[in-house]
Symmetry: C2
Subunit: 403 residues, 2 copies
């Protein structure tokens, strides 16, 4: 028998969870938007103008010169000590570096949480709507995911209380994104946060708090993280993707002692550790208060882009029954189309006119609101935003007239 003598298909039996995995809607849409000339409000790509390329270049140089062999070697699953210390010190409540686990992007944090906290059939609560990537990370562990009623200010705490009283088992956790939420851009004010934490504590419900956008505020820093209000009550996820660069794939989990050891073991089994080189490079970039100088430039850019998009919406959507919110930070805003117009049906018409977005239905655990869509204001330029919103309005107008 020589190589390739055999071409015998074998009996692949896929795991039951594989049946539940589906191609990401966003992913498929992004493929369309890669067509030249399409203005995309679809992806959640930070503006590359904000990437500190020169600071990275200098950090690479220093890390490889001073610490090359260690930066290229296997390392501890917990993460690089100085980076864990930086994370602990950067958070607005007392955090021991021993509680910090460096992850391969905060997406991996969601995967580890799912592995450690979800059994097949477990109840799980999420906001309505919620981050699609979280649904994708949780789904393979086969939970029953329930959306909690939410309004423009986030989770409806009274509805949560009723939902906790019903159901056949306590939910394993509530996944919540309090700052400039993906997909809606909405935030929870301090009163809502306090009410939510009080209810979660009363019910013994763990919170999984995801905060990739908290630093991207336009006017003032957001209120206290939920985890700061009750550090034993939840797991906190953070990311370097939006304040430095996503291509490094670095995020972190802060976890109480009740779950940290299991998250660490899941991390070790998942990829041994996050790249030691990247961790040292980021630790080097972060020294000497770099973010204090860098992040304000991102905030200013995104605030400007958001204002441009809001202005264009005012102008172009005039006379159409289209609604949208005014986020106080982050990367996204949330649009509701006129009655009878489905965002999914609108999308191909919009793409024909050269503009793309993500239909909101992708972000609902339960019954979707098909009139919703997510618009990112950070990737396209101000000029593209003007052209794109005008094209979007034309596509909506056509749908309304056709309806």
């Amino acid at each position: 028998m020589k190589p390739n003598d055999l071409h015998t298909p074998v009996n692949w039996t896929l795991a039951r969870r594989a049946e539940r995995m589906n191609p990401s809607v966003i992913r498929e849409i992004l493929k369309v938007t890669e067509r030249p000339g399409i203005i995309s409000f679809a992806g959640g790509l930070p503006s590359p103008a904000t990437f500190p390329v020169e600071a990275m270049r200098e950090a690479c140089e220093r890390v490889l010169r001073d610490d090359g062999p260690a930066a290229l070697q296997y390392a501890a699953s917990e993460g690089y000590g100085p980076l864990r210390e930086w994370v602990a010190a950067s958070l607005p409540w007392p955090v021991d570096p021993a509680q910090v686990l460096i992850t391969t992007g905060s997406q991996q944090g969601l995967d580890l949480v799912a592995k450690v906290l979800i059994d097949a059939g477990s109840r799980l609560l999420v906001e309505t709507p919620t981050y699609l990537g979280a649904l994708q990370a949780f789904t393979p562990m086969e939970p029953r995911i329930e959306g909690v009623a939410s309004d423009a200010g986030g989770v409806d705490v009274a509805a949560l209380q009723r939902q906790l009283g019903a159901g056949d088992a306590p939910p394993r956790f509530l996944y919540v994104l309090p700052n400039f939420q993906n997909p809606t851009g909405r935030s929870m004010d301090l009163a809502r946060r306090q009410a939510l934490v009080a209810e979660a504590s009363r019910a013994g419900l763990p919170l999984v708090e995801d905060n990739p956008y908290g630093d991207l505020w336009f006017h003032q820093a957001p209120p206290s993280p939920l985890t700061a209000l009750n550090p034993e009550g939840g797991v906190y996820l953070g990311s370097f993707s939006k304040i430095l660069a996503p291509g490094l794939r670095l995020g972190f989990i802060v976890a109480p002692r009740a779950v940290y050891p299991k998250l660490l073991q899941a991390k070790q089994a998942a990829d041994l550790h996050s790249p030691s080189f990247n961790q040292r490079m980021v630790a080097e970039v972060l020294k000497d208060g770099f973010l204090d100088r860098h992040v304000p430039t991102i905030r200013a850019l995104y605030k400007r882009q958001c204002e441009v998009m809001l202005g264009c919406l005012e102008r172009e959507m005039a006379g159409l029954d289209v609604q949208w919110n005014r986020p106080d930070g982050g990367m996204f805003l949330w649009v509701r189309l006129p009655a009878g117009v489905s965002a999914i049906e609108l999308l191909p018409k919009a793409v024909d006119r050269g503009v793309a977005f993500v239909p909101g239905s992708a972000f609902f655990a339960g019954e979707p609101d098909e009139r919703t869509m997510r618009l990112s204001f950070v990737t396209a330029s101000a000029e593209q935003i003007q052209t794109g919103i005008a094209a979007l309005a034309a596509a909506i107008r056509e749908q309304v007239q056709g309806a």
Copy 2:
């Protein structure tokens, strides 16, 4: 309520799979061996002398200068096109780059395979002994793992055939490491590979072939990969950790069309994509046949270190009933202690004498052979190997006399 008003523990209910996760024995041992002065044959750390620091530095410089924003942005889950093309072209059978999925180290490949192919209660076959990290990656998906009888030449194919005939369900796959296996250092010859692939094809049994060490041969390149003998019959995992550097966390999966889309979806949910910066850096380093010049230097170093260790074993173990093999490549050799001596009991005595190893029991899916141990010959220097093997022999001698 101010921050930290509440310190209320909530009701963490861990997933059933979390109960099965245990701290890695190797990990705990590595902590001991970090004590200054301990000579460690325990870890599987490549020699840092083999890391091409200067080539990496130049590649970082070029990537950030010519392609900075793209290298730091989100990217496709499949991986960076030129790197996928390089991988496909480097393999000794026809591989379409579309079959290549870049992973965050080959450990992540094992995690993705587990998610896509294992249900709770699934039968799974592994070699005896097998790679501990694979057991850790598979275990969270709650399979029933069975060891297949193996000898110095790898999987015993007749035993495999009997095992396939027995059992209550067809196994989901056989996990096999044909080249310089971790932990034993053993390899399968061509005849054994052909017999194994023929039996797997006959039975319709998928193979998961792991090949992190194949390039580290001492005398001649190993025979054809199993996957080359039947490309539709399995999934192949590779790594850049042993030929470039582990701290970059880059590996790959080559998968047939029957499973690639699900592995890709699992990858997307796990960490979106492997670091785009690292992928571009490695693609840049690999250009112009770098490995053709670099890998022979690793082979020569490890061959020399292996010979030193074999020479020391001959000399120091004289008169003791200790057996060991002579690997043709890789990083490890496998030792069997005299009757009545347990490697687990030996370890603390050896550490007292300043030398560490990994007891073989950690690597068995079923009943362990407690007389076995794994020795790495690549991390310690030639001088340390001499001191360490002498100390190990003294510890064994003491145990034998005490027995």
